[in-house]
Protein backbone atom coordinates (compact mmCIF):
# COMPACT_ATOMS: atom_id res chain seq x y z
CA UNK A 1 0.00 0.00 0.00
CA UNK A 2 0.98 3.64 -0.38
CA UNK A 3 2.17 5.32 2.78
CA UNK A 4 3.54 8.72 3.74
CA UNK A 5 7.30 8.58 4.36
CA UNK A 6 8.97 11.53 6.11
CA UNK A 7 12.60 12.30 5.29
CA UNK A 8 14.52 14.21 7.94
CA UNK A 9 17.27 15.04 5.45
CA UNK A 10 14.82 17.26 3.58
CA UNK A 11 12.44 18.52 6.28
CA UNK A 12 12.95 22.22 7.05
CA UNK A 13 10.48 22.33 9.95
CA UNK A 14 8.17 24.86 8.31
CA UNK A 15 4.94 23.27 9.65
CA UNK A 16 3.17 23.77 6.33
CA UNK A 17 2.12 20.10 6.42
CA UNK A 18 0.24 20.79 9.65
CA UNK A 19 -1.62 23.69 8.07
CA UNK A 20 -2.46 21.61 5.01
CA UNK A 21 -3.68 18.84 7.30
CA UNK A 22 -6.07 21.01 9.28
CA UNK A 23 -7.36 22.61 6.09
CA UNK A 24 -8.02 19.23 4.49
CA UNK A 25 -9.86 18.06 7.63
CA UNK A 26 -11.82 21.29 8.14
CA UNK A 27 -15.43 21.94 7.25
CA UNK A 28 -14.66 25.07 5.29
CA UNK A 29 -11.59 23.69 3.45
CA UNK A 30 -10.26 27.22 3.81
CA UNK A 31 -6.90 27.66 5.54
CA UNK A 32 -7.68 30.98 7.21
CA UNK A 33 -11.12 29.94 8.47
CA UNK A 34 -9.79 26.56 9.55
CA UNK A 35 -6.90 28.10 11.48
CA UNK A 36 -8.66 31.12 12.93
CA UNK A 37 -12.10 29.74 13.65
CA UNK A 38 -12.47 25.97 13.44
CA UNK A 39 -9.30 25.32 15.39
CA UNK A 40 -10.62 27.26 18.38
CA UNK A 41 -14.32 26.52 17.98
CA UNK A 42 -14.26 22.82 17.00
CA UNK A 43 -10.89 21.80 18.38
CA UNK A 44 -9.63 21.10 14.86
CA UNK A 45 -6.04 19.86 15.11
CA UNK A 46 -3.41 18.48 12.78
CA UNK A 47 -2.67 14.76 12.51
CA UNK A 48 0.99 15.61 12.05
CA UNK A 49 3.59 16.37 14.68
CA UNK A 50 6.79 18.19 13.80
CA UNK A 51 9.81 17.40 15.95
CA UNK A 52 12.92 19.59 15.91
CA UNK A 53 16.36 19.15 17.38
CA UNK A 54 19.09 21.55 16.34
CA UNK A 55 18.71 21.82 12.57
CA UNK A 56 17.18 18.38 12.20
CA UNK A 57 13.42 18.22 11.85
CA UNK A 58 10.86 15.61 10.93
CA UNK A 59 7.10 15.60 10.45
CA UNK A 60 5.46 12.38 11.55
CA UNK A 61 1.96 10.94 11.48
CA UNK A 62 0.32 7.51 11.60
CA UNK A 63 2.39 4.88 9.75
CA UNK A 64 -0.62 2.67 9.05
CA UNK A 65 1.43 -0.19 10.47
CA UNK A 66 0.98 -3.73 9.16
CA UNK A 67 0.35 -4.96 12.69
CA UNK A 68 -0.72 -1.87 14.59
CA UNK A 69 -0.38 -1.57 18.36
CA UNK A 70 -3.27 0.87 18.45
CA UNK A 71 -5.70 -1.73 17.08
CA UNK A 72 -4.49 -4.27 19.65
CA UNK A 73 -5.14 -1.72 22.39
CA UNK A 74 -8.51 -0.37 21.31
CA UNK A 75 -11.23 -1.46 23.73
CA UNK A 76 -14.18 -0.31 21.63
CA UNK A 77 -13.54 -1.51 18.09
CA UNK A 78 -12.91 2.15 17.21
CA UNK A 79 -9.68 1.25 15.45
CA UNK A 80 -9.33 -1.55 12.95
CA UNK A 81 -7.24 -2.62 10.02
CA UNK A 82 -8.98 -2.55 6.66
CA UNK A 83 -7.78 -5.79 5.04
CA UNK A 84 -8.50 -4.45 1.57
CA UNK A 85 -6.81 -1.03 1.69
CA UNK A 86 -4.30 -1.80 4.44
CA UNK A 87 -5.23 1.40 6.25
CA UNK A 88 -5.61 1.67 10.00
CA UNK A 89 -9.13 3.06 10.14
CA UNK A 90 -10.63 5.12 12.95
CA UNK A 91 -14.36 5.05 13.66
CA UNK A 92 -15.19 8.15 15.65
CA UNK A 93 -18.65 6.89 16.57
CA UNK A 94 -17.29 3.84 18.35
CA UNK A 95 -14.47 5.59 20.22
CA UNK A 96 -15.00 6.19 23.95
CA UNK A 97 -11.87 8.26 24.54
CA UNK A 98 -10.04 5.82 26.81
CA UNK A 99 -6.60 6.85 25.45
CA UNK A 100 -5.41 3.23 25.30
CA UNK A 101 -4.31 3.71 21.70
CA UNK A 102 -2.47 6.89 22.54
CA UNK A 103 -0.54 4.96 25.20
CA UNK A 104 0.09 1.91 23.03
CA UNK A 105 1.18 3.51 19.74
CA UNK A 106 4.97 3.72 20.09
CA UNK A 107 5.13 6.15 17.18
CA UNK A 108 3.36 8.97 18.99
CA UNK A 109 0.91 9.16 16.12
CA UNK A 110 -2.26 9.69 18.15
CA UNK A 111 -3.43 12.94 19.72
CA UNK A 112 -6.30 13.67 22.05
CA UNK A 113 -9.02 15.86 20.60
CA UNK A 114 -8.73 19.14 22.53
CA UNK A 115 -12.37 19.27 23.65
CA UNK A 116 -14.03 15.91 23.02
CA UNK A 117 -13.32 12.36 24.20
CA UNK A 118 -12.09 11.44 20.73
CA UNK A 119 -8.73 11.02 19.08
CA UNK A 120 -7.05 12.65 16.11
CA UNK A 121 -5.19 10.36 13.76
CA UNK A 122 -4.08 10.46 10.13
CA UNK A 123 -6.58 8.92 7.67
CA UNK A 124 -4.31 9.47 4.65
CA UNK A 125 -6.86 12.10 3.57
CA UNK A 126 -9.36 9.45 2.67
CA UNK A 127 -11.48 10.46 -0.29
CA UNK A 128 -9.21 13.34 -1.30
CA UNK A 129 -8.45 12.95 -4.99
CA UNK A 130 -5.01 14.52 -4.89
CA UNK A 131 -3.91 12.20 -2.03
CA UNK A 132 -2.60 13.35 1.35
CA UNK A 133 -2.63 17.13 1.69
CA UNK A 134 0.57 17.21 3.75
CA UNK A 135 2.57 15.58 0.97
CA UNK A 136 1.18 18.02 -1.56
CA UNK A 137 1.97 21.01 0.64
CA UNK A 138 5.55 20.14 1.57
CA UNK A 139 7.76 22.69 -0.20
CA UNK A 140 10.91 20.59 -0.04
CA UNK A 141 9.77 17.09 -0.98
CA UNK A 142 10.35 15.82 2.57
CA UNK A 143 7.12 13.84 2.56
CA UNK A 144 6.65 11.12 -0.02
CA UNK A 145 3.46 9.16 -0.67
CA UNK A 146 4.72 5.91 -2.13
CA UNK A 147 4.36 2.18 -2.42
CA UNK A 148 7.49 0.69 -0.86
CA UNK A 149 6.63 -2.81 0.37
Amino acid sequence: MKRVYPDKEYCIGCHLCELACITAHSKSKDLIIAFREERLKDGLDSCKKVFEKGDTCVAISCRHCDEPSCVAACISGGLHKDPETGRTVYDRNKCVGCWSCLMACPYGAIKRHPTESKIIKCDLCEGREEGPACVQACPNGALKFEERD
Binding site: E52, V58, I60, A72, A73, I75, L102, M103, P106, Y107
Partner: protein
Protein backbone atom coordinates in the same frame (compact mmCIF):
# COMPACT_ATOMS: atom_id res chain seq x y z
CA UNK B 1 -12.37 -28.36 11.70
CA UNK B 2 -9.02 -26.75 11.07
CA UNK B 3 -9.34 -24.05 13.75
CA UNK B 4 -11.44 -24.09 16.90
CA UNK B 5 -11.38 -21.24 19.42
CA UNK B 6 -12.89 -21.53 22.91
CA UNK B 7 -13.98 -18.12 24.15
CA UNK B 8 -15.30 -15.13 22.28
CA UNK B 9 -13.36 -12.23 23.78
CA UNK B 10 -10.55 -10.05 22.48
CA UNK B 11 -7.94 -12.84 22.52
CA UNK B 12 -10.28 -14.70 20.21
CA UNK B 13 -10.54 -11.74 17.84
CA UNK B 14 -6.75 -11.40 17.87
CA UNK B 15 -6.50 -15.06 16.91
CA UNK B 16 -9.00 -14.73 14.05
CA UNK B 17 -7.07 -11.75 12.69
CA UNK B 18 -3.78 -13.64 13.16
CA UNK B 19 -5.03 -16.76 11.38
CA UNK B 20 -6.41 -14.72 8.50
CA UNK B 21 -3.03 -13.02 7.99
CA UNK B 22 -1.70 -16.43 7.03
CA UNK B 23 -4.62 -18.58 5.94
CA UNK B 24 -7.52 -17.00 4.08
CA UNK B 25 -9.29 -20.27 3.36
CA UNK B 26 -9.89 -22.74 6.14
CA UNK B 27 -12.91 -22.29 8.35
CA UNK B 28 -12.68 -21.05 11.92
CA UNK B 29 -15.16 -22.04 14.62
CA UNK B 30 -15.57 -19.90 17.72
CA UNK B 31 -17.42 -21.34 20.73
CA UNK B 32 -18.42 -18.73 23.29
CA UNK B 33 -20.29 -19.18 26.56
CA UNK B 34 -21.78 -15.71 26.51
CA UNK B 35 -24.78 -15.08 24.27
CA UNK B 36 -23.76 -11.74 22.80
CA UNK B 37 -21.36 -11.00 19.95
CA UNK B 38 -17.79 -10.25 21.12
CA UNK B 39 -17.92 -6.96 23.02
CA UNK B 40 -15.42 -4.63 24.58
CA UNK B 41 -15.31 -5.99 28.12
CA UNK B 42 -14.02 -2.66 29.51
CA UNK B 43 -17.05 -1.04 27.87
CA UNK B 44 -19.39 -2.54 30.45
CA UNK B 45 -18.46 0.32 32.77
CA UNK B 46 -19.33 2.85 30.05
CA UNK B 47 -22.64 1.02 29.59
CA UNK B 48 -23.40 0.97 33.30
CA UNK B 49 -22.51 4.66 33.53
CA UNK B 50 -24.97 5.38 30.70
CA UNK B 51 -22.23 6.84 28.51
CA UNK B 52 -22.88 4.43 25.65
CA UNK B 53 -25.83 2.35 24.54
CA UNK B 54 -25.82 -1.40 23.92
CA UNK B 55 -25.50 -0.82 20.16
CA UNK B 56 -21.91 0.34 20.67
CA UNK B 57 -20.67 -2.75 22.49
CA UNK B 58 -19.75 -5.01 19.57
CA UNK B 59 -16.05 -5.01 18.72
CA UNK B 60 -16.36 -6.04 15.10
CA UNK B 61 -19.34 -5.74 12.74
CA UNK B 62 -21.26 -8.88 11.75
CA UNK B 63 -19.74 -8.74 8.27
CA UNK B 64 -16.27 -9.18 9.80
CA UNK B 65 -17.22 -12.75 10.72
CA UNK B 66 -18.77 -13.41 7.33
CA UNK B 67 -15.78 -12.02 5.45
CA UNK B 68 -13.37 -13.90 7.70
CA UNK B 69 -15.28 -17.17 7.23
CA UNK B 70 -15.85 -17.63 10.95
CA UNK B 71 -18.78 -19.58 12.33
CA UNK B 72 -19.96 -18.74 15.80
CA UNK B 73 -21.54 -21.02 18.37
CA UNK B 74 -22.59 -18.60 21.08
CA UNK B 75 -24.34 -19.37 24.34
CA UNK B 76 -22.40 -22.63 24.23
CA UNK B 77 -19.85 -23.81 26.77
CA UNK B 78 -17.05 -26.26 26.17
CA UNK B 79 -17.11 -28.76 29.00
CA UNK B 80 -14.26 -31.10 28.06
CA UNK B 81 -11.22 -31.32 25.81
CA UNK B 82 -9.79 -34.66 24.74
CA UNK B 83 -6.29 -33.79 23.65
CA UNK B 84 -5.56 -37.32 22.40
CA UNK B 85 -8.61 -37.66 20.16
CA UNK B 86 -8.45 -33.92 19.44
CA UNK B 87 -12.09 -33.26 20.18
CA UNK B 88 -14.02 -30.86 22.40
CA UNK B 89 -17.41 -31.52 23.98
CA UNK B 90 -20.00 -28.81 24.56
CA UNK B 91 -22.82 -28.42 27.05
CA UNK B 92 -25.22 -28.82 24.11
CA UNK B 93 -24.11 -32.41 23.74
CA UNK B 94 -22.00 -31.91 20.62
CA UNK B 95 -18.50 -33.19 20.05
CA UNK B 96 -16.32 -31.29 17.61
CA UNK B 97 -12.99 -32.21 16.10
CA UNK B 98 -10.12 -29.77 15.90
CA UNK B 99 -6.74 -29.68 14.27
CA UNK B 100 -5.67 -26.52 16.10
CA UNK B 101 -7.37 -25.41 19.28
CA UNK B 102 -7.10 -22.08 21.09
CA UNK B 103 -8.16 -21.79 24.71
CA UNK B 104 -9.10 -18.16 25.26
CA UNK B 105 -11.44 -18.55 28.22
CA UNK B 106 -10.32 -15.36 29.97
CA UNK B 107 -10.70 -14.75 33.67
CA UNK B 108 -13.30 -15.30 36.34
CA UNK B 109 -13.97 -12.86 39.16
CA UNK B 110 -11.91 -13.44 42.27
CA UNK B 111 -14.31 -13.73 45.19
CA UNK B 112 -12.87 -14.09 48.68
CA UNK B 113 -15.05 -15.84 51.22
CA UNK B 114 -17.02 -13.18 53.09
CA UNK B 115 -19.66 -14.39 55.54
CA UNK B 116 -23.10 -13.45 54.26
CA UNK B 117 -22.05 -13.10 50.64
CA UNK B 118 -24.23 -16.01 49.54
CA UNK B 119 -27.65 -14.65 48.72
CA UNK B 120 -29.34 -11.81 46.91
CA UNK B 121 -27.79 -8.48 45.93
CA UNK B 122 -24.13 -9.43 45.94
CA UNK B 123 -22.69 -9.03 42.47
CA UNK B 124 -19.53 -9.18 40.41
CA UNK B 125 -18.63 -6.79 37.64
CA UNK B 126 -16.82 -8.57 34.86
CA UNK B 127 -19.34 -9.24 32.13
CA UNK B 128 -22.27 -7.83 30.24
CA UNK B 129 -24.86 -9.74 32.26
CA UNK B 130 -23.46 -8.22 35.47
CA UNK B 131 -23.70 -4.74 33.96
CA UNK B 132 -27.28 -5.32 32.82
CA UNK B 133 -28.30 -6.56 36.25
CA UNK B 134 -26.73 -3.54 37.93
CA UNK B 135 -28.42 -1.17 35.47
CA UNK B 136 -31.85 -2.46 36.41
CA UNK B 137 -30.93 -2.59 40.12
CA UNK B 138 -29.60 0.98 40.12
CA UNK B 139 -33.11 2.35 39.56
CA UNK B 140 -34.37 1.01 42.86
CA UNK B 141 -31.39 1.33 45.19
CA UNK B 142 -29.78 4.14 47.14
CA UNK B 143 -26.44 2.84 48.37
CA UNK B 144 -23.78 0.46 47.14
CA UNK B 145 -20.55 -0.83 48.61
CA UNK B 146 -17.85 -1.85 46.15
CA UNK B 147 -15.19 -4.20 47.46
CA UNK B 148 -11.89 -3.64 45.64
CA UNK B 149 -10.05 -0.43 44.82
CA UNK B 150 -8.27 -1.66 41.69
CA UNK B 151 -9.15 -0.77 38.16
CA UNK B 152 -12.36 -2.82 37.97
CA UNK B 153 -13.60 -1.75 41.41
CA UNK B 154 -13.08 1.94 40.73
CA UNK B 155 -14.79 1.64 37.35
CA UNK B 156 -17.73 -0.21 38.92
CA UNK B 157 -17.99 2.46 41.63
CA UNK B 158 -17.78 5.33 39.18
CA UNK B 159 -20.44 3.85 36.92
CA UNK B 160 -22.89 3.16 39.73
CA UNK B 161 -22.35 6.68 41.01
CA UNK B 162 -23.20 7.98 37.55
CA UNK B 163 -26.51 6.10 37.85
CA UNK B 164 -27.30 8.14 40.95
CA UNK B 165 -26.23 5.58 43.56
CA UNK B 166 -24.25 6.59 46.64
CA UNK B 167 -21.03 4.60 46.48
CA UNK B 168 -18.36 3.58 48.98
CA UNK B 169 -15.29 1.77 47.68
CA UNK B 170 -13.32 -0.42 50.08
CA UNK B 171 -9.66 -1.21 49.48
CA UNK B 172 -7.74 -3.49 51.79
CA UNK B 173 -4.28 -2.12 50.98
CA UNK B 174 -3.20 1.36 52.09
CA UNK B 175 -4.01 2.89 48.71
CA UNK B 176 -6.17 2.37 45.65
CA UNK B 177 -4.72 1.16 42.33
CA UNK B 178 -1.86 -0.50 44.17
CA UNK B 179 -0.94 -2.85 41.34
CA UNK B 180 -0.50 -0.62 38.35
CA UNK B 181 0.09 2.81 39.88
CA UNK B 182 2.11 4.39 42.67
CA UNK B 183 1.18 6.48 45.68
CA UNK B 184 1.18 9.88 43.99
CA UNK B 185 -0.92 8.75 41.05
CA UNK B 186 -3.31 6.91 43.36
CA UNK B 187 -3.72 9.96 45.54
CA UNK B 188 -4.50 12.24 42.58
CA UNK B 189 -7.06 9.71 41.31
CA UNK B 190 -8.53 9.23 44.79
CA UNK B 191 -8.86 12.99 45.30
CA UNK B 192 -10.70 13.29 42.00
CA UNK B 193 -13.18 10.56 42.98
CA UNK B 194 -13.79 12.07 46.43
CA UNK B 195 -14.30 15.48 44.88
CA UNK B 196 -17.02 14.17 42.62
CA UNK B 197 -18.71 12.55 45.61
CA UNK B 198 -17.60 8.93 45.85
CA UNK B 199 -16.31 7.63 49.17
CA UNK B 200 -13.01 5.78 49.04
CA UNK B 201 -11.81 3.96 52.16
CA UNK B 202 -8.40 2.34 52.18
CA UNK B 203 -6.90 -0.07 54.69
CA UNK B 204 -10.28 -1.67 55.41
CA UNK B 205 -12.31 -4.46 53.97
CA UNK B 206 -15.61 -6.22 54.44
CA UNK B 207 -15.72 -8.54 57.45
CA UNK B 208 -19.28 -9.67 57.08
CA UNK B 209 -22.32 -8.94 54.97
CA UNK B 210 -25.33 -8.33 57.19
CA UNK B 211 -28.71 -9.77 56.24
CA UNK B 212 -32.09 -9.62 58.00
CA UNK B 213 -34.26 -12.61 58.93
CA UNK B 214 -35.65 -12.78 55.37
CA UNK B 215 -32.15 -12.80 53.95
CA UNK B 216 -32.33 -9.27 52.53
CA UNK B 217 -29.08 -7.39 52.42
CA UNK B 218 -28.73 -4.72 55.09
CA UNK B 219 -25.14 -3.60 54.93
CA UNK B 220 -21.50 -4.43 55.45
CA UNK B 221 -19.48 -4.77 58.66
CA UNK B 222 -15.96 -3.49 58.10
CA UNK B 223 -12.72 -4.81 59.51
CA UNK B 224 -12.29 -1.55 61.47
CA UNK B 225 -15.59 -2.04 63.27
CA UNK B 226 -17.69 0.36 61.19
CA UNK B 227 -20.99 -0.60 59.63
CA UNK B 228 -22.07 0.65 56.20
CA UNK B 229 -25.73 0.47 55.31
CA UNK B 230 -26.28 -0.49 51.68
CA UNK B 231 -28.63 -2.16 49.19
CA UNK B 232 -26.08 -3.95 47.02
CA UNK B 233 -22.51 -5.14 47.35
CA UNK B 234 -20.27 -5.40 44.30
CA UNK B 235 -17.24 -7.63 44.70
CA UNK B 236 -14.75 -6.34 42.15
CA UNK B 237 -11.32 -7.35 43.34
CA UNK B 238 -10.02 -8.63 40.05
CA UNK B 239 -9.96 -11.77 37.95
CA UNK B 240 -8.13 -15.06 38.14
CA UNK B 241 -7.34 -17.22 35.11
CA UNK B 242 -10.26 -19.40 34.08
CA UNK B 243 -8.21 -22.55 33.56
CA UNK B 244 -10.28 -25.34 35.12
CA UNK B 245 -11.31 -26.73 31.74
CA UNK B 246 -7.68 -26.95 30.63
CA UNK B 247 -6.50 -28.41 33.91
CA UNK B 248 -9.21 -31.07 33.89
CA UNK B 249 -8.05 -32.05 30.43
CA UNK B 250 -4.49 -32.62 31.57
CA UNK B 251 -3.06 -29.43 30.04
CA UNK B 252 -0.21 -27.93 32.08
CA UNK B 253 -1.17 -25.03 34.33
CA UNK B 254 0.71 -22.96 36.86
CA UNK B 255 -0.83 -19.60 37.79
CA UNK B 256 -2.42 -19.61 34.35
CA UNK B 257 -2.24 -22.02 31.44
CA UNK B 258 1.45 -22.54 30.70
CA UNK B 259 2.47 -21.49 27.20
CA UNK B 260 5.81 -21.43 25.41
CA UNK B 261 7.10 -18.56 23.28
CA UNK B 262 4.75 -19.62 20.46
CA UNK B 263 1.70 -19.65 22.75
CA UNK B 264 1.63 -23.46 22.63
CA UNK B 265 0.36 -25.30 25.69
CA UNK B 266 1.75 -28.64 26.83
CA UNK B 267 -0.76 -30.46 24.59
CA UNK B 268 -0.06 -30.91 20.89
CA UNK B 269 -2.07 -28.58 18.66
CA UNK B 270 -3.49 -26.68 21.64
CA UNK B 271 -2.70 -23.01 22.19
CA UNK B 272 -3.76 -20.53 24.88
CA UNK B 273 -3.96 -16.72 24.96
CA UNK B 274 -5.32 -13.83 26.99
CA UNK B 275 -6.29 -13.54 30.64
CA UNK B 276 -6.13 -17.33 31.01
CA UNK B 277 -2.52 -17.67 29.84
CA UNK B 278 0.78 -17.35 31.63
CA UNK B 279 3.05 -15.96 28.95
CA UNK B 280 6.48 -14.42 28.63
CA UNK B 281 6.86 -10.90 29.99
CA UNK B 282 8.85 -8.53 27.80
CA UNK B 283 10.74 -6.84 30.63
CA UNK B 284 11.14 -9.60 33.21
CA UNK B 285 11.83 -12.47 30.85
CA UNK B 286 9.72 -14.72 32.99
CA UNK B 287 6.21 -16.09 32.49
CA UNK B 288 3.43 -14.14 34.17
CA UNK B 289 -0.31 -13.64 33.96
CA UNK B 290 -0.98 -10.00 33.07
CA UNK B 291 -4.72 -9.76 32.57
CA UNK B 292 -5.01 -6.75 30.31
CA UNK B 293 -6.60 -6.06 26.97
CA UNK B 294 -3.59 -5.41 24.73
CA UNK B 295 -1.81 -8.56 25.88
CA UNK B 296 -4.89 -10.64 25.23
CA UNK B 297 -5.12 -9.35 21.67
CA UNK B 298 -1.39 -9.70 21.00
CA UNK B 299 -1.19 -13.20 22.42
CA UNK B 300 -4.23 -14.25 20.41
CA UNK B 301 -2.73 -12.72 17.28
CA UNK B 302 0.56 -14.57 17.79
CA UNK B 303 -1.22 -17.84 18.58
CA UNK B 304 -3.39 -17.44 15.49
CA UNK B 305 -0.45 -17.06 13.15
CA UNK B 306 1.26 -20.07 14.67
CA UNK B 307 -1.93 -22.13 14.48
CA UNK B 308 -1.97 -21.36 10.77
CA UNK B 309 1.54 -22.71 10.37
CA UNK B 310 3.83 -19.72 10.79
CA UNK B 311 6.79 -19.74 13.14
CA UNK B 312 6.26 -16.58 15.17
CA UNK B 313 7.89 -15.91 18.52
CA UNK B 314 5.83 -13.88 20.99
CA UNK B 315 7.59 -10.59 21.69
CA UNK B 316 6.38 -10.62 25.29
CA UNK B 317 3.62 -9.06 27.34
CA UNK B 318 3.95 -5.50 28.51
CA UNK B 319 1.82 -4.27 31.38
CA UNK B 320 -0.04 -1.11 30.40
CA UNK B 321 -3.11 0.68 31.69
CA UNK B 322 -4.92 3.79 30.63
CA UNK B 323 -7.81 4.86 32.78
CA UNK B 324 -9.54 8.19 33.39
CA UNK B 325 -11.33 9.37 36.50
CA UNK B 326 -13.89 12.05 35.70
CA UNK B 327 -11.70 13.75 33.16
CA UNK B 328 -8.39 13.05 34.93
CA UNK B 329 -6.42 10.71 32.65
CA UNK B 330 -3.83 8.31 34.05
CA UNK B 331 -1.43 6.00 32.21
CA UNK B 332 0.96 3.40 33.53
CA UNK B 333 3.33 1.28 31.44
CA UNK B 334 5.93 -1.32 32.38
CA UNK B 335 7.69 -1.40 35.74
CA UNK B 336 6.36 1.45 37.85
CA UNK B 337 7.13 0.27 41.39
CA UNK B 338 10.69 -1.09 41.17
CA UNK B 339 12.25 -2.85 44.16
CA UNK B 340 13.61 -0.15 46.49
CA UNK B 341 16.78 -2.01 47.40
CA UNK B 342 17.98 -2.52 43.82
CA UNK B 343 20.55 0.13 42.81
CA UNK B 344 20.23 -0.63 39.12
CA UNK B 345 16.89 1.19 39.17
CA UNK B 346 16.61 4.95 39.13
CA UNK B 347 13.33 6.80 39.60
CA UNK B 348 12.56 10.36 38.60
CA UNK B 349 9.23 11.83 39.68
CA UNK B 350 7.65 15.21 39.01
CA UNK B 351 4.47 16.08 40.88
CA UNK B 352 2.42 19.24 40.53
CA UNK B 353 -0.54 18.81 42.81
CA UNK B 354 -2.17 22.10 41.84
CA UNK B 355 -2.11 21.29 38.15
CA UNK B 356 -2.93 17.65 38.91
CA UNK B 357 -0.04 16.60 36.84
CA UNK B 358 2.38 13.81 37.59
CA UNK B 359 5.18 12.15 35.69
CA UNK B 360 7.25 9.27 36.97
CA UNK B 361 10.00 7.65 34.95
CA UNK B 362 11.71 4.43 35.94
CA UNK B 363 15.11 3.59 34.49
CA UNK B 364 16.99 0.32 34.77
CA UNK B 365 20.65 0.97 33.99
CA UNK B 366 20.44 3.02 30.78
CA UNK B 367 16.97 1.84 29.75
CA UNK B 368 13.56 3.32 30.42
CA UNK B 369 11.54 0.39 31.78
CA UNK B 370 8.36 2.06 32.94
CA UNK B 371 6.46 5.29 33.48
CA UNK B 372 3.36 6.81 35.03
CA UNK B 373 1.59 9.88 33.69
CA UNK B 374 -1.35 11.70 35.28
CA UNK B 375 -3.06 14.70 33.73
CA UNK B 376 -0.66 15.51 30.94
CA UNK B 377 -0.56 12.24 29.02
CA UNK B 378 -0.01 13.43 25.48
CA UNK B 379 3.56 12.18 25.12
CA UNK B 380 2.74 8.68 26.40
CA UNK B 381 3.42 6.88 23.12
CA UNK B 382 6.88 8.37 22.81
CA UNK B 383 7.78 6.97 26.25
CA UNK B 384 6.20 3.64 25.34
CA UNK B 385 8.58 3.45 22.37
CA UNK B 386 11.59 3.47 24.69
CA UNK B 387 10.11 0.82 26.97
CA UNK B 388 8.79 -1.41 24.21
CA UNK B 389 11.70 -1.27 21.79
CA UNK B 390 14.16 -1.36 24.69
CA UNK B 391 16.27 1.38 23.22
CA UNK B 392 19.09 2.63 25.43
CA UNK B 393 18.74 6.23 26.56
CA UNK B 394 21.98 8.17 26.10
CA UNK B 395 22.83 10.85 28.72
CA UNK B 396 21.86 13.88 26.63
CA UNK B 397 18.63 12.24 25.59
CA UNK B 398 17.87 11.43 29.21
CA UNK B 399 17.68 15.13 30.08
CA UNK B 400 15.10 15.59 27.38
CA UNK B 401 13.10 12.59 28.57
CA UNK B 402 13.21 13.84 32.15
CA UNK B 403 11.95 17.19 30.94
CA UNK B 404 8.92 15.41 29.52
CA UNK B 405 9.93 15.81 25.90
CA UNK B 406 10.79 12.44 24.40
CA UNK B 407 10.71 12.33 20.61
CA UNK B 408 11.60 10.24 17.58
CA UNK B 409 14.78 12.18 16.83
CA UNK B 410 16.29 10.60 19.95
CA UNK B 411 16.05 7.16 18.38
CA UNK B 412 19.19 5.43 17.08
CA UNK B 413 19.69 6.49 13.45
CA UNK B 414 19.28 3.08 11.84
CA UNK B 415 16.16 2.28 13.77
CA UNK B 416 14.73 5.68 12.91
CA UNK B 417 15.35 5.12 9.23
CA UNK B 418 13.97 1.56 9.20
CA UNK B 419 10.85 2.78 10.93
CA UNK B 420 10.08 6.03 9.21
CA UNK B 421 11.81 6.05 5.88
CA UNK B 422 12.76 2.52 4.89
CA UNK B 423 14.12 1.67 1.49
CA UNK B 424 15.01 5.24 0.59
CA UNK B 425 18.19 5.97 -1.34
CA UNK B 426 20.35 8.44 0.60
CA UNK B 427 21.55 11.45 -1.39
CA UNK B 428 25.33 11.56 -1.88
Amino acid sequence: MKYVIIGNGIASIGAIEGIRKVDAENEILVIGAEDSPAYGRPLISYLLAGKIGPERLALRPQEFYEKSNVSLKLGTRVIAIDTKKKIVATDKGETLEYENLLIATGGIPFTPPIPGSDGADVYNFTNLAHAQTLISKAKEIKRAVVIGGGLIGLKAGESLFDRGVEVTILELSPRILSLAFDENAASLAGTRLEEVGLHVRCGVSAKEIQRDAEGSLKGVHLTDGDFLQCDVVVIAIGVVPNYDLAKKSGIGVDRGIKVDDHMRTTAEGVFAAGDVAQARDLLFREDRVIPIWTNAYNQGFCAGKNMAGRDITFTGSLAMNSISFYGLPTISVGTVNPPEDDDAYEVAAFLDEKKRSYRKLVFHNDHLVGYVLVGDIDMAGMYTAFVKFQMPVPEDAKKQILAGEPDVLMWPDDFFKDTWNPGVVEPD
